[in-house]
């Protein structure tokens, strides 16, 4: 860990100084062929400076004292370049200094590269042995680790180490000569040693994935139009993130999001409370816990919707000053050479009181959507999510599987149509959100019953 305090004497304006290393590793088998076997290390120093309403940023991969001092100097020069040419009245919320250190790395002995490789091969071998009609398969292990040290001119200090490890399994079968796929991701926050023990621990879930895939291959195309549906936790989580979360990021709000008009207004069913959790949910750490953000702000939960009423937006220091409010730790950067942006952390709809089985039983003709592929949303709150695993609901019971489809709607309208919320809570730890830069995020929720547009033939 680099001690940054000795560089504070070079801070002449509002300044952030960050040293960061990202590590990643990938092992991927495609149909038994090792197509990915690599590691990546990216580290360096960056500095961001605020001067008369303009920001300057500079970074350097080399982290000796001279380069760190130069990086601060270049960030100042960049801020001066802009502030010398434009007159702006922007302010920033400075907040109080806050220091925090957290290391989420494993305390166990690290296992060898061979053991990691054997684990992935063990899963691949199980699939080959168990499922004779699987025509394509991908099994992979992905690791991402982010280690950050931050010092700001306000006096905030931060050290954090956050690891995430995921096992990815994608299976394909052919039906009448057409390839049909389905996939599942296992793991989440933590090093491999804290998440996985034996490949056989995943076999039951892989069996379930295969069953869903077979049902999908023998299944039908969804019927297009507005339908009554159950969105399982995976989809409720992405709804919270993509469709509501992004429209309530303050930079998007200032850029024209429809949510700008909705503060303190009823925007959803009263059954909906939606929060961007900083680091913990009911005493347990969330997938991407943030205690201090990359601007040095102490991280707190942001309650976006409370009992159906839109309450607050997510801010960085600059948008907080614009809205005359406080920042709660949503400014995050992906790589050392990236500037902090307003980002979500762990966005989730809170559980309700209904039982999933009762929710399914309450639908005469609709769908149960279980897994999503990708999602996008608009400043109007119009969203689209891919559905990769789902079933028809006929007369209150699950029926045929469905092929890949897409669901869409205006998020606030869809949330107004919610009539039941299940009492369980599932976190998705695999999220990677793209907004100029990528950033890992957590998202979660219960199952919700609502009306939604289904794309189909």
């Amino acid at each position: 860990m680099i001690q940054l305090s000795k560089f504070s004497k070079h801070f002449t304006n509002y300044t952030e100084l960050r040293v960061q290393e990202n590590q990643s590793m990938n092992i991927t088998f495609l149909n038994g062929n090792l197509v990915g076997n690599e590691k990546k290390y990216t580290s360096g120093v960056s500095s961001r400076v605020f001067l008369n309403g303009s920001w300057g940023f500079a970074s350097n991969p080399e982290m000796n004292d001279v380069n760190i001092i130069d990086t601060i100097k270049f960030a100042n020069e960049n801020a001066e370049f802009l502030s010398g040419r434009q007159s702006k009245n922007n302010k920033i919320y400075e907040g109080a200094a806050f220091s925090h250190s957290h290391n989420l790395g494993t305390k166990k002995n690290r296992i060898s590269q061979k053991e990691l490789m054997d684990f992935v091969k063990g899963i691949d071998a199980y699939i080959v042995k168990k499922f004779a009609d699987v025509t394509s398969r991908t099994v992979g292990l992905n690791f991402l680790g982010m280690e950050k040290t931050l010092l700001t001119s306000v006096g905030s200090n931060r050290y954090s180490l956050w690891p995430r490890t995921m096992i990815f399994v994608k299976l394909g079968v052919e039906e009448n000569g057409e390839p049909i796929n389905a996939y599942e991701i296992f793991g989440g926050r933590g090093h491999f040693e804290d998440l996985f023990t034996n490949p056989s621990d995943l076999f039951e879930d892989i069996d379930k994935l295969y069953e869903h895939l077979k049902n999908k291959s023998k299944g039908v195309y969804a019927s297009a139009g507005e339908k009554e549906v159950i969105l399982d936790a995976d989809l409720a989580g992405i709804l919270a993130h993509e469709a509501i979360g992004h429209t309530t990021e303050a930079d998007i709000v200032l850029g024209g999001s429809i949510a700008a008009n909705y503060v303190n207004k009823e925007v959803s069913s009263h059954l909906i409370t939606l929060t961007d959790y900083a680091h913990s949910y009911k005493g347990n750490l969330c997938p991407t816990p943030i205690f201090v953000d990359d601007e040095g702000t102490k991280a707190e939960d942001v309650v976006i919707i409370k009992d159906g009423v839109l309450k607050e937006f997510m801010h960085n220091k600059e948008t907080a000053a614009t809205f005359k409010t406080i920042a709660k730790g949503n400014a995050r950067a992906y790589q050392y050479f990236d500037e902090p942006l307003v980002r979500m952390r762990n966005t989730a709809i809170e559980p309700g009181k209904s039982k999933l089985r009762d929710m399914i039983a309450s639908i005469e003709d609709g769908y149960y959507f279980m897994k999503t592929g990708n999602g996008q949303a608009d400043s109007t709150s119009e969203f689209m999510f891919a559905v990769t695993i789902g079933y028809e609901i006929k007369n209150g019971k699950l029926a045929r599987g469905i092929r890949d489809t897409t669901i869409a709607g205006l998020a606030f309208d869809v949330l107004k149509s919610v009539t039941m919320v299940s009492d369980d809570m599932v976190w998705g730890s695999w999220g990677m959100c793209g907004k100029k830069q990528m950033i890992p995020v957590g998202m979660g929720g219960p199952a919700i019953k609502c009306r939604i547009n289904v794309g189909g033939k």
């Binding site: 990216t42 303009s54 970074s59 434009q86 049909i180 850029g255 592929g373 891919a386």
Partner: protein, 431 residues
Amino acid sequence: MTKNKVVNKMMKLLAKENLEKYQIIINNSKKTEMVVERGEISLLRTTSDTNLRITAINENKKASVNINKVDDSSLEEATKNVLELLETSEVDDAYDISPFQEARQFESGSKEPNKEDMYKLITRFIGAVKLEYPKLNISESALTFNYTEVNLVNSNGVDYLQTKGIYSFYVVFTAKDGDNISSMNFVAFSMNDLEKDLLDTATLRRLIKENIEQLETKPITEKFAGDVLITPDYLAELIATFAGIGLSDGALIAGTSVLKDSIGKEIASPKLTIRSNPRSKHICDGYSITSDGFEAKNLTIVENGVLKNHLLGLYGAKKTAKKRAENSGDAYVVDPGGVSYKDMVKKVKKGILLSRFSGGNPSPNGDFSGIAKNSYYIEDGKVQYPISETMIAGNIYDMLKNIKEISKEQVNFGNALMPWLLTTGVTISGK
């Protein structure tokens, strides 16, 4: 031998290990970026980075390590890491590096940005938008200059140097009028210089005008199979998706591509010719070398509807016993047709003008569904009104077979050259 000292050091370290084959790519990059937020230049960002990628093959096992530190101890550590990964790797006869080719250097663009001109150009763009399109919000935008110096060498004696300086611009925008807001849209393009006003480059002015029209939209209230007139903006995305599910290493090794045995066969309308032209003078943001160590050449992918080439790299080609592509894809060009855009609209009885598509990744069989964004309803040869909450579903391969017309006009995005394309048989459904 290469002039890059780091690469020479790395080559010596790997040679000491008696490895059978190895390849080193070093990419030194410098970026200057002016970021616009909410209609003002908010940030000037200058970054420099190095990426050193070491790939080693021994006893038919392969491993790669990427680092961004090039001091002696980092190079030694990287060597140790790649050897460790090699030890646990799998035997595969298809692992290889490119054979000897004559050393070459490729240069394009300038080495340094003109910061003053960047500032002036983007300031002029912001000013013009405020004056001419006061209802438009620039949500997010950046003008960037990126200089990269890539040196690729391998143990067969390959030694390529590619230097490239390129400006690129992207902008995300929405229109706002009272409580009404339009669906966001965006444009991205690359350019060699800063001569042309941003507003008049690629499709930017047209999309801004349309975005303001899209403050008032109507959903389509029925479901029908109709025509889709695809804009150059979305066509660039569609062709990249087609290449991903039908022509790429992953799809062909997995065997999920429906085009795996289609070389020489008609897979699309005879009106369609698709090229990947990274070396074309019309593509300023192309490339001269591939990541597996070959000089890139322009490539015809589909000619008059017939599939000519997959996009297989060296490994994918060996693995599938098919021909290696002479480039790595991208830089797509769809050849122009003989009809004007205006005449294409006149040919549409009932359908939509599809400007942007928000949808799930298509299935390997080409099926897709999603929302038609920033799009218009067309009936009886006339663009009628902007639409909202309209979903479309179809099959990519069928869309390419059902092409009715391709426009004679093309739009140059710097990294793609695309016309308008009219196809049919897509399910369009409203609320």
